[in-house]
């Protein structure tokens, strides 16, 4: 089929499966770390906003491939022999938590401060006010950019190729080395990425439009 054997196509599709696994790892990990970061960024504490801002600046100023390498080599000097998936997963978590933290901080701060004051007038504690008043509104603001960032996560898992993780990009590279048909192989790979990413891009835009209308 397409001048590739079924096995070769299967290898690429399996790579696509690993790309999705790594994307999910990155998103789940990024949510678990990014949410506390967003809260720390918008807290009234003296040190928490600065510390979390420093973390975000640090991660956003280093290329993802370099983060992958640092994690990969950093864990191996600790004497642990771990699969590339774990190193790539940790790197993706660090990367997406910084960006998601920024996105969600913006969403929390986009809620007018009168909402905070109103919830205080209703004798809600700050935690109650956040959970029942601010959060439901902030989530609405956060959904379009979060879905948009999912596209970035899926695309950026391709950087795990530097530490030899067998994702879609790596699989395509291997098949290209074997068949030497770059246009065919990389067009198929690009097509698979596009099929995963484009619906999310459209969805993000749709959410954004419906948010603007309301």
């Amino acid at each position: 089929m397409f001048g590739l054997t079924i096995e070769q196509l299967g290898f690429i599709v399996r790579g696509a499966g690993w790309t999705i696994v790594l994307s999910l790892l990155g998103f789940v990990g990024g949510t678990l770390v990014g949410l506390p970061i967003a809260l720390a960024r918008s807290s009234n504490n003296r040190w928490l906003p600065r510390l979390s801002a420093a973390f975000v600046q640090l991660v956003q100023g280093i290329p993802l491939p370099v983060i992958m390498f640092v994690v990969y080599f950093g864990i191996s000097i600790g004497g642990f022999d771990i699969p590339a998936l774990v190193a790539a997963g940790i790197a993706m978590t660090l990367y997406s938590s910084a960006y998601l933290g920024e996105i969600w901080k913006g969403s929390i701060q986009a809620i007018p401060s009168t909402q905070w004051e109103a919830s205080e007038c209703l004798a809600l504690t700050p935690v109650q006010g956040f959970v029942y008043v601010i959060l439901p509104q902030a989530v609405r603001v956060a959904i379009p950019p979060t879905v948009g960032f999912l596209v970035q996560i899926v695309k950026n898992t391709s950087y795990s190729v530097v530490i030899g993780f067998t994702d879609l990009t790596y699989a395509a590279k291997v098949i290209n080395n074997a068949t030497f048909r770059p246009f065919l192989v990389f067009t198929i790979a690009a097509g698979i990425y596009f099929v995963i990413c484009y619906p999310m891009s459209l969805l993000s835009r749709k959410f954004e439009r419906s948010l603007k209308r309301s």
Binding site: F69, V70, R181
Partner: protein
């Protein structure tokens, strides 16, 4: 855990690191200028061009924005070699970066053009400006000014993205790091140093681009409105 950190490679490979930094910056600058021109052209044709041109630029922007840079680079670099066109890895890398950053710039500039009030073009039309003059003299400067912060972030992201070009053996900073690591087996230390260099480069580039802004937008300086 006992591990002795060894940063002696800094002394032995300092000239390689300097070369890597130079190539990273050179690729960035070489890609920003044509990339910006390409993106702006696409934004203008997507907004004001004939239908076929609109569809073409939308297809380009969506195609590039929804596929990874690594795949684009591989497609171009390995593809060219099959066609018996032999270009250096650096040339292929810069070409791919131009195409990539062009698509992102197009999206930013399109948003920029859309935020300019209609009154501006109407006023320009009253002054008997042609459509081209309106776009070039009235809309473009304002769109660039409004979108400048977004453009700066995009260009910094692109500088960081050059790190993937070591995959097609362009000897930029990350590629140099990989070579040093394979000679010294000090992967962790090497990439810590590389990471610090990138952090510094990102700050320098951001400062530099905002320095350019004060020269570019004198009105902002007079009004003291920050970008």
């Amino acid at each position: 855990m006992s591990y002795d950190f060894d940063f002696s490679f800094l002394r032995d490979y300092d000239s390689d690191l300097v070369y890597g930094v130079w190539l990273t910056l050179a690729m960035t600058v070489a890609a920003i200028v044509p990339g910006f021109a390409l993106g702006t052209t696409c934004a203008i044709s997507a907004l004001y061009g004939p239908a076929w041109l609109r569809r073409l630029s939308t297809a380009y922007v969506e195609g590039i924005r929804n596929t990874p840079l690594v795949i684009q680079v591989f497609w171009l670099f390995f593809g060219l070699s099959v066609l018996n066109i032999h270009v250096s890895a650096t040339t292929a890398a810069i070409t791919a970066l131009v195409v990539n950053v062009g698509a992102y710039t197009a999206e930013i500039m399109r948003a920029g053009f859309e935020t300019i009030p209609k009154g501006q073009t109407e006023a320009a039309a009253c002054l008997a400006m042609t459509r081209t003059q309106q776009i070039w003299n009235i809309q473009l400067p304002q769109a660039v000014e409004r979108m400048y912060p977004a453009l700066v972030s995009q260009f910094v992201l692109m500088m960081l993205a050059t790190s993937i070009m070591s995959q097609i053996s362009a000897p930029e900073l990350t590629g140099v790091g990989y070579q040093i690591q394979s000679f010294t087996f000090r992967g962790f230390e090497v990439y810590i140093v590389i990471a610090i260099i990138y952090l510094a480069l990102a700050s320098v580039l951001r400062l530099l681009l905002f320095g350019v802004a004060t020269a570019l937008f004198p009105r902002r300086r007079r009004l003291k409105t920050p970008l």
